[in-house]
């Protein structure tokens, strides 16, 4: 296996592990607010090695999540793609920001992510276009908060992993 393939394998390995942790069944109260590790890992790799992760990873893992979670096919793919593009477009600015600044960006990104997931694309509610209610919005805030708090450990762990195993 050449170096490039090995690097790709190691990056996709972390994404696969994150996916496995994401699909694990937790209590209902926690399931709604648990952070999406795939999303955080994808953001990290887009920020750290933007030329190694791209459209393919976003589409692949987005579709896998759609299939495993039961959401509309292509919805997570679209979201991951947009987030990937934004990360790649602004990774110079994002990478040099402090950890707390990055966490704030992750916080707002995650709220947006959750709210888009609540779009009523199947038209189950005739009166409104969004399924979000007070409970869902609270869950979105908690989800974003936990994701923002988890960003620092995720970044530090993946940075250590990258420096230790991925040779450019």
């Amino acid at each position: 296996m050449n170096r490039e393939s090995k690097n790709q394998f190691l990056i996709y390995l972390t994404l696969c592990l994150s996916l496995l942790l994401d699909v694990y069944v937790f209590p209902v109260s926690f399931m709604a607010i648990k952070p999406s590790l795939v999303l955080l890992a994808l953001i990290y790799w887009n920020m750290a090695l933007p030329d190694r992760v791209g459209i393919a990873a976003a589409l692949l893992f987005g579709t896998l999540i759609d299939l495993l979670e039961g959401s509309l096919l292509g919805l997570h793919g679209t979201l991951f793609l947009l987030i990937t593009y934004m990360c790649q477009r602004f990774f110079y600015q994002f990478r040099v920001s402090g950890l707390w600044q990055q966490s704030i960006i992750i916080f707002f990104l995650c709220i947006l992510y959750k709210q888009i997931l609540a779009l009523d694309l199947l038209n189950v509610n005739e009166s409104q276009t969004n399924l979000s209610d007070v409970l869902y919005f609270t869950h979105s805030l908690l989800f974003a908060l936990f994701s923002a708090l988890l960003w620092s450990p995720v970044l530090l762990i993946l940075r250590y992993y990258r420096r230790r195993w991925i040779k450019i």
């Binding site: 496995l20 942790l21 994401d22 699909v23 694990y24 069944v25 937790f26 209590p27 209902v28 109260s29 399931m31 709604a32 648990k34 933007p50 030329d51 791209g54 459209i55 976003a58 589409l59 987005g62 579709t63 759609d66 299939l67 495993l68 979670e69 039961g70 959401s71 509309l72 096919l73 292509g74 919805l75 793919g77 679209t78 793609l81 947009l82 990937t84 593009y85 790649q88 477009r89 990774f91 609540a118 694309l121 199947l122 189950v124 509610n125 399924l131 409970l135 869902y136 869950h139």
Partner: protein
Amino acid sequence: MMPKREYKVSYISSEAIFAVPAMKPSKVILAMLLCFTLMLSDIYFGASSKIRTYAHDVFMPLSALVNLPLNLISKSGDVFKTRYTLRKELDEFRIENKKLRVTNQFLEKVSKENEELNRLWSSARLNLNNYSLVKKRTISSNEFQPLLIVDISSDSSIDLNDSLITDKGLIGRVIASSKYSAEVMLLHDVRSFVPVISEKSKLHANIKGGGLGRSGKLQYVKKTAAYELGEKVYSSGIADTFPEGVYVGEIVSIKDLSDSEFLEVEISFLQSPLNQDFYFVYENE
């Protein structure tokens, strides 16, 4: 030589600019179009339901891996114990082992499962030939469209719209099935509608799901309807999707809002489907 994509050449000085270019917008737009096509195919043709159960069959070996982290965490506690504590524990285990040699250590687990199965079987009040037993594999964390995946045997006759029942009542219905797994739409799903009849007032209505951890709502209930708090509702069997007389939930809230022409009646479903491992599939006649 460095790959061309890792640098650009300045038009002014002809020097290499060592910058990683962002993704090409044209590629992003193409990928977005692909995603939109997938979404439209799912909305209009239900593509995901057709693919998903087969995808779950493919990922079946991976579901065992999902449990690996928790097993590792539960066993990692031993790493931090001192040698003295471990020795003490070992002695205790030796004594216990002598006691347990006669009895099978799995007996308790087996009897518990047996008890659960017996309870489930004794709750079968409908045509007994139409029941088949399934086991939970996974449940998704999607709040509005929670999805329950159950293991089925390859020779089972489970069909679309068959009902999923436990000893406590109705859980959902099968919306897709493949060789080894079936996909169940839970009552909590926002797309779910169940025709029901109330216990005391004998009124017919439809319950619409509200999402995981939320109550369901009775649809289009007239303001003159005489529902009572705590009243139980059962499946009415209308439309032949669900069997008649299976417990669905109970009324937890009745609101008469002045700006609505209907009564807002909330139903609490029987329990969280996460707490159960075995289910009955009732094959519709």
